[in-house]
Subunit: 192 residues, 2 copies
DNA sequence: AATAAAATAGACAGGTCTGTATATTTTATG
DNA sequence: CATAAAATATACAGACCTGTCTATTTTATT
């Protein structure tokens, strides 16, 4: 039976359990059996929903991509109408993320690292997320009056990814502040 | 017999082979047997030189750390006496690295991702490298007249790590240019 | 040449991994 | 209730993993 993509309780539960373990310990190091034992689900159930571990990982990454972007968008909207505040809200969101319990970096950056071959489906799925984030940033930069919004968004993306890695290793929120301050400076330069 | 740290031809050869495979495919996915087969060395020889795979990885990371910093320092010195040129030379070095054959990102960032637990010896070894790079950047920023060289170096580190991840995924040198231009702008701001 | 050190092959332990097969039981749905 | 779908337990294949052990051979050093 081919793997379905339709949502179902078992499928959702498997994805939630797998996500937790993958994020905590790593994509390669967590085995199918561990996920099944933790979820209390039979092996064939997993393989009826997902053709392979790779497909499970990709499904999780795509789900996290949606959730991530929705979460950021909510924070941006909560910042009100001022376009500068909206852009900087992204960095406030970052700070909250860095401070969250069990923060261990960005699963997408980690996926890029764990599957370093650029042609690998998991690598490509992870990078698509970064592209999508950058597109959202471009809109915010444009609204804030940046002369070259795509270029600024690109630079801010570098800053954000660097901050994520630093926050992961140091387990502090300081990188969010540094990135935020730099973003504010760069935005000022880009609109002057 | 305890693992020695003294350099020897076999030890060096093992480290070179392991480095190549680890960088190409990943730390966790490359097994001891694969390294041995590729190096043409007996298993007991490896385990006489290294107590474990973990120790082998750490030895390689520490070696790469030294080589990395020496390579950057050489490029900086080749840039001459102008302190601004010296700082920006780091980004030229980045560009050359991104363009190199088989570039797959930074093994230290990848190690942070593959061993996401901050207390893990490999994670900590990888982060020490980033700290060391930041210290060198601080010196360059100070020489270039930055008012808060440590803060600027910290920000440039974020930029650099973000650029490395982006260059890895896109397989282009563009992130080096973006980072370089941003670094020049930030330096100007920090010295004004 | 004699001795000590290093490296070798190969088997082995005990565990892990992904994915498949089978036969049974539970759960939905008409 | 009857039928179909989903999920179950369990075993299995075949490969991989790290690290150890032993007995032998090669390489250095004196």
């Amino acid at each position: 039976m081919a793997a379905t993509e339709i949502s179902s309780p078992k499928r959702d539960h498997l994805m939630a359990t797998a996500w937790r373990l993958f994020y905590r310990d790593g994509l390669r190091v967590v085995g199918i059996d561990t996920i099944l034992a933790e979820a209390g689900v039979a092996k064939m159930t997993l393989y009826n929903h997902f053709a392979s571990k790779e497909e499970l990982i990709i499904a999780i990454l795509e789900k996290r991509d949606r959730e991530f972007r929705e979460s950021i968008a909510a924070r941006v909207d909560a910042a009100g109408p001022d376009p500068v505040a909206r852009l900087l809200a992204v960095f406030d969101w970052l700070e909250g993320w860095f401070a969250s319990e069990g923060f261990k970096g960005c699963v997408f950056i980690r996926a890029l690292s764990e599957y370093p071959e650029p042609t690998h489906p998991i690598h490509q799925t992870a990078w698509r997320h970064k592209i999508a984030i950058q597109a959202a940033l471009t809109n915010l930069c444009a609204a804030a009056g940046a002369k070259d919004p795509a270029a600024l968004a690109n630079t801010l993306s570098l800053l954000i990814d660097g901050a994520i890695v630093a926050a992961h290793a140091t387990q502090t929120t300081a990188p969010a502040h540094a990135a935020r301050a730099t973003a504010a400076s760069l935005l000022k330069l880009a609109t002057a």
